[in-house]
Amino acid sequence: MTTVDSTTGDRIAADRAASAPPVRPHSAERRWVGQSIRRVEDPKFLRGRGGYIADRITPGTLHAAVLRSPHPHARITGFDVAAAQAAPGVHAVITGAQAAQLCDPMPDFGPDPTRHTWRCLAAEKVRYVGEGVAVVVADSRYLAEDALELIEVGYEPLPAVVDPERALDAGVPLVHEALESNCAYERSFDFGDVDRDFAEADLVIRDRLRWHRSGGQPLETVGAIADYDPGTGGFVIETNTLSFTSYLFMVAAALKVPVNRLDIRPAPAGGSFGSKLFANKPAVIAAMCARATGRKVAYIEDRVDNISNCDHHGSDRLYDVELAVMRDGTMRGIKIDTIDDYGAYIQFGVGHHGNALAQVTGPYTIGSVRYRVRAALTNKNQQGAYRGFGSEVNNWMLEQMVDKAARELDLDPAAIRRKNFIRQFPYYIPTGNVYDSGDYDKVLDKALELADYEHWRAEQKRLREQGRYIGIGLISAQERSVFSATEFWFWFDEPAAPVTSTPESVSLKVDTTGGITAILYSCAFWGNSPETMVAQFVAEEFDCDPYDVAVVYHGSGDGLPATGPGGSRTTVMLAGAVEGAAGKIKAKARRAAAHLLEIDEDDLEWADGGFGVRGDPERRKTLGEIAIMLHLFKHSFPADMTSGLDGSQVYDHPWTTMPSADRKDLGVFYPFMGHACHIPVVEVDIETGAVTFLHYAAVHDCGTLVNPRSLAGHIVGGTAQGIGTALYEEFVYDTDGQLLSSSYLDYLIPTAMEVPELAIGHVETPSPYTPHGVKGGGEGGRMMAPAAINAAVNDALAPLGVRLTELPMTPERILTALRASRKKG
């Protein structure tokens, strides 16, 4: 609890109550929301007509290929491109230095963009293996790659900085000389009374933990097809990255065009998991080449391009943590000191730590937090977004500490968690963010039942007697949804751009026959199911069949602002936008119906797809009957009623509050808080370090579910990626800065044999504040699994005195830990 006098405390409470959105009643009966209907997206994908970016390349389009640096750190001393320019089929060769004239730097939300300048191609020096230094445009990708081999680049290698702790030392090579340091950002926040909580604690649990970078690695890479019109000086770019339409002015600035001359049209993405979030480099490169050659140009990354240069590597953190606990298991406070290896650039600043602060104390009543973050720059590809965006790492760290505390206090892992569970909602955590609703006991109870927990504890005992090492992981953690922009800038006392808009927009049109079309603006499809979500929401509003709703995607040039998926926001934001747009349509339709039925608007009620007279339901007009009149018979209505029947809604984040000036309270920035409990059972082969799953139970609470099957699919998929992060996946850079895992031969993605069948349970604690009580849930599986699997492995190896504190837990790391403990013991 924050230490404030009662007047301040009352004022804070009153301010918070005033700024909360109204509590909404939720209908007990729903027709379409809550149904696991088949996805409306499926038919095209099943037939191979998905329309992904590479499918949209038309004959005559030229192809670009990028030449990449083999050095982690080097000055570029010169180019010889003559042979490449003369090669068959080549239309242009553009070096990084030339690109710096043609384009301005890339959009950068980082702390100091002018001093860690990021360009689409490296100009004077390369800062990581794989950074692009030149691009070739040719008749085909084959010919472009032939020409790449003919380019001679002069490099003057520089010493590379690879270890994030060493990067922060004095006198090491600088990734960006202009920054005069490899520490791109440092700050420490205190929330609550940390010193008092630690002074009063019975025990302080300490640990050092390491989470290495992995990444989304969707099977489809990023790509863009750009067309330049010299007449208008504008670009049309088709691309599979999601756009943040209001922030496209930054991309336009990179291309040196006015924002209303840039139209970005979304193509469905073959997966993203964050890695296609505002990934604009391919678009900028393609557009630059289109303008340079006067032709349409496609730049589609290949796999090596993407692994080495996607600009979306995941979090890469070292933690020093202290947890203050009482002997009875009550957790009082936590001190977190983290160094995050951001790589060579820092496009999203430390927003990933904002994500962590949204739920830093987990589902627990921990009263105080000290959070120190240092962003280290190194010679690696930069971080971007990966499912969880930095909060999944915090979940893992916190649950490791809770388990360590449980062991030292000799408490059962479920018992220590229950001791600290939050049970009153809305609940404001020390950072100022709010948890809207939840029932953590219910989730834990259900998970224990689904996991057959008692049975596996008995099995564990029995098998240990046979010399086998079974472990049960039990973690309870948060999955926040719907981010506010404040998490990117509340780090600065005087932010340059304290932006607060993250809207989503939907337009609904009712046509002359009563059919409904929903228009999404740059709301990307990337495996989430925006069309199905919208169709179900629209069907709920209008009592129609969801498969009768047409859903189309418009580009940025077509108007309304949108942010797109990310931070599990899409379902809630589309729900709000649809509700708003539908409300406008119903208001106009009601007025029209009242006029047609010659009755007061107040005597009408909506039921079964139309407006009927209350008490006399035979007198009614369906939406279709109203629509045809409005479309064609203007003079049948009052003079001020316009033709047509449509409504648009720009839906802004429904609950964002500003951080306090002293940053003791960061405000509300991630209010719709889901929760989950994962209980995996593993066996560790102590001779080989192999980990296999014997069982896996996962229970999630994401509020009201729109399509339960769809959410279950995301839970399994997210868990599979969490398994990758926990056991297999890592972007490995050696001590010289060479990227060792540059293909799927070495970056190991789990197959169907590495992912067990999950026993999935749902709990639905609706949000009081959102339409239907929905919360986001797309990221949850990955936000839980690494923590749960680490817990399981540690539980298996506890009798041997081994505890893993580094992910991924590869056979190498497990065997090394076992060897070390044998030497000790």
């Binding site: 191979g48 590479a54 499809f525 699919g713 169907a752």
Partner: protein, 161 residues
């Protein structure tokens, strides 16, 4: 350039191709069959899977010239006009796809699996589809879809005979 004759989804094609042209690029760009996708281009992920003479192959590590004289089946040949193949229908019913990118390769591999083993166990299906990566689904609903399709196809065969 080398002359090749290939039958794709029952339709014969002749073409002149560079020997280095990968089969996946031939299918996608020369024949306009963009349903087969590119994932890794080094033969690991299985996204590019098609059938050659009834057997699954990775078209990103197969040259078009190696398909001369062969019969290729791609995802575009699965449905019978408006009617989806039971595998496609089951993938939709069980939500065995999210982004859809691995789906064509997965469907072709699944069709090979069921042709060789019409009544597989869940474990057999899971091991067989380990050849194809999926980054979205975590495989569980794909296994359910393949089992569902197997059951339907067995029933359809019984009805027919």
């Amino acid at each position: 350039m080398t002359a090749i004759s290939v039958t794709v989804n029952g339709r014969p094609h002749t073409a002149q191709v560079e020997p280095r042209r990968l089969l996946v690029d031939f299918l996608r760009e020369d024949l306009g069959l963009v349903g087969t996708h590119i994932g890794c281009e080094h033969g690991v992920c299985g996204t590019c899977t098609v059938l050659l003479d009834g057997r699954s192959i990775r078209s990103c590590i197969t040259l078009a010239v190696q398909a001369d004289g062969a019969e290729i089946s791609t995802v575009e040949g699965l449905a019978d006009g408006a009617e989806l193949h039971p595998l496609q229908d089951e993938f939709s019913e069980k939500q065995g796809l999210q982004c859809g990118y691995c789906t064509p390769g997965m469907l072709m591999r699944a069709s090979e699996i069921l042709a060789g083993n019409p009544d597989p166990s869940p474990a057999e299906v899971r091991e067989a589809i380990a050849s194809n990566l999926c980054r979205c689904t975590g495989y569980q609903f794909i296994v359910e879809a393949v089992l569902g399709a197997a059951e339907r196809m067995r029933a359809e065969k019984e009805t027919a005979s």
